[in-house]
Symmetry: C2
Subunit: 243 residues, 2 copies
């Protein structure tokens, strides 16, 4: 882990950009913490620069509750090398949505499955490194981003003890089976009017999740319109399970 920049935000949060090999990432820690802070991994759809305003807002919210927060870039996004197969799948998806056509399973598989395969070990590697810092302790929560990656991490990474999942991206059929294996508490956010999302598939996925504690919070509005109170409720869920 190589820190490339460091700045103190005005509300007592230390923000450090880093690289892990070729993967850029950002770590936020509350400077007021006297003990190692529990950690929230901040998921996102890819593109750290573009997503920065929303990520830092979530990190500040987390820090105010005493959490550290960390994120890394997704493969094929931001400054990382393009991924031709994923670009093709994204173009195919856009074309289908614009034409008002149903989205083929093949497109969704091509878009999501390789991403999950590559990203999950990268996030686990980042977790190894971040948890080795003296100012970061546990437990660990995961929040947001590509829901299939959240499900994969919830299944394979035993250090993650609760997760907020954002049901806002297409889900490969194979992930429904994987969803049954999740056993940690989950808080699922669904935007009811998300044009680029399949609402019924999101409800089916919620149904498939195997854990004994899961809550679905559905709110009016499009993909980026999660209301403030819904963000607060998701934060409360993590606080309840990680503190």
């Amino acid at each position: 882990m190589h820190f490339t920049s460091e700045q103190r935000l005005d509300d007592g949060v230390l923000e450090r950009e880093f690289t892990l090999g070729e993967i850029p990432g950002i770590l936020w820690t509350p400077t007021s913490a006297s003990a190692p802070a529990p950690l929230i991994l901040l998921g996102h759809p890819g593109g750290l620069h573009k997503m920065y305003p929303r990520l830092v807002a979530r990190a500040r919210h987390a820090a105010a509750e005493g959490f550290a927060a960390a994120t890394i870039e997704l493969p094929g996004s931001g400054e990382r090398p393009r991924w031709p197969a994923a670009e093709q799948a994204r173009a195919d998806l856009r074309r289908a949505l614009e034409a008002g056509e149903p989205v083929d399973d093949e497109i969704i598989d091509a878009l999501i499955l390789p991403l999950v395969e590559q990203a999950a070990p990268e996030w686990r590697g980042a977790l190894d490194v971040v948890l080795s810092l003296p100012e970061i302790g546990g437990p660990v929560g995961y929040s947001g981003g590509v829901i299939s990656l959240g499900i994969r991490l919830a299944v394979v990474e035993p250090r993650i003890s609760a997760a907020v999942l954002f049901a806002g991206s297409f889900v490969p059929r194979a992930m429904f089976e994987e969803a049954r294996q999740v056993t940690i508490p989950l808080h699922v956010l669904l935007q009811w009017d998300d044009e680029g999302n399949d609402r019924q598939a999101a409800l089916d996925l919620f149904d498939a999740l195997g854990t004994k504690e899961k809550t679905l919070h559905a709110n009016l509005g499009g993909h980026t319109g999660v209301p403030q109170f819904a963000g607060d409720a998701a934060a409360q869920f993590l606080t309840r399970h990680l503190k």
Copy 2:
């Protein structure tokens, strides 16, 4: 309004039973309040005595937030005169559920529509009387009970400014149209594994609600298994909108 009993609960809540004509009811007020308290109308499925433990728990929760709470018996329930047509519909419903058959629209209409027609004016009358007490002010929230009655009250009673609806009872087709007319903020609770409820109809009803602010909180468990954290979230919703 005729008070028939009065007792001080151990946590600073004054509980008074009353009758309004032939309709029994209960009023809970926080004794520590210095100003007229906002009010939450506590809905229920009928049967004040049977429901008392859960009602008083909700009233105490409300009082701790500074709210008064009130409820009245539903027509045909508890000590009120039986209602042969509703009893027949209830028996038909039970038979269909036990046989695993789909429930006819006629059964649902017969069970719910006359209840809503009679109960809504009774709850509005109770609101007139309760709001005339000096210790009760406004605004007014409605919470729980038969969802069709909650929708009717949300539409016809302008003094109700926010409502928690429990999607746990069958809904007549006619109520879907009425749902489009609701404009107040709504917080809808759904128990995902409620055997005596039609989950898809509940989701369709949430979709039909016309208000610009609505949230669905779906949780695992059966009809009576609403988790503590979900009750807390519903209480927070009312506090956010009524204070």
